[in-house]
Symmetry: C2
DNA sequence: GTACTTTTACTCGGATACCGTCTGTCCGAGTAATTATGG
DNA sequence: CCATAATTACTCGGACAGACGGTATCCGAGTAAAAGTAC
């Protein structure tokens, strides 16, 4: 369907929750996936992608879990997209034009590249902090974090 | 892989070829798919999508085929994208946020919507004419069109 | 030569199959805090 | 009380199954031009 994975939205949400954690505290992956309504084992794989990209830190062992690895102001929505969706572009030329015309580079690829850059610029313009600064932290979200955080 | 279909690039290419047709002439679908290197029967389904969106006109019967239904200056790249990929957005919220916060509308959906608008604006800014105006029409492309067009 | 029929070469639309990706599930291994145990 | 072992609750990572969309293929139906046929 040519659509962004739901895992992206879930990841943004998870990082939003993690941004409400006090220093040194973590949230177990299962608590996160339960809250978000995703399959626990699968969502942990998404969390690992976020960890591999240094957006969050994982703590193994008992009392383990996940926490932010950067300040919310340093985590752009684009970074989350990149971690989940990967680095490949929305449009990838299959060389249909090159196969006919020796015209390099392809004018369509240029246009699609410009469009994609414009798209990414918007995602780079907002961070977790700027996006959720007006989210009332005193709601059940904060309550959930307080009840499920460890140490 | 969250990528635009190859059918999109092929469709742009097909319309580019059709724009080289003289008035009243048509190109059979099989000639187009052969030139583009796509599966003939499947590519005809793409051509039908373009026809359903009034970008091209189809002529049934012997000596039938396809031709443009609008002037190349009136066919935006965005129109082709819409015809092939459909109207749904790149990002569709699964309501993960709404499920927790009564915060409507979702701030993430807003951001993604802005990004998508920006992306689409670029695709709306170019037409088949503007995109291919510097394409040398005297190449083997024009030759192919001349050899395969009907009536 | 004209009227009619047949053939031909297209488009149209449905049914189906293949394949890769996303999602979901299971299982074993590693890690660290807690608890239990033995002196 | 202290050192060590066992348990517990997490993360890590691979293997695998199901669902779905994009691509590909096949077939029959509709359409219109061309070719053939009858008078």
């Amino acid at each position: 369907m040519m659509q962004i994975k739901t895992g992206f939205e879930q990841s943004v949400y998870a990082i939003c929750l993690l941004s409400m954690l006090p220093e040194k505290a973590v949230l177990p992956g299962e608590a996160l996936s339960n809250q978000i309504g995703a399959s626990p084992t699968y969502f942990q794989k998404l969390l690992r992608k976020l960890a591999d990209n240094d957006l969050i830190a994982s703590v193994p062992g008992k009392k383990g879990g996940f926490k932010l690895n950067k300040k919310p102001s340093k985590i752009r929505i684009y970074d989350i997209f990149l971690a989940i969706e990967g680095m490949q572009t929305l449009y990838f030329s299959n060389g249909v034009f090159n196969h006919m015309t020796d015209h390099e580079p392809c004018v369509l690829s240029d246009l699609m590249g410009k469009a994609e850059s414009s798209w990414k610029d918007v995602l780079k313009s907002e961070t977790i902090e700027s996006l959720f600064k007006d989210l009332d932290k005193e709601t059940n979200l904060q309550q959930f974090v307080n009840e499920n955080m460890v140490v």
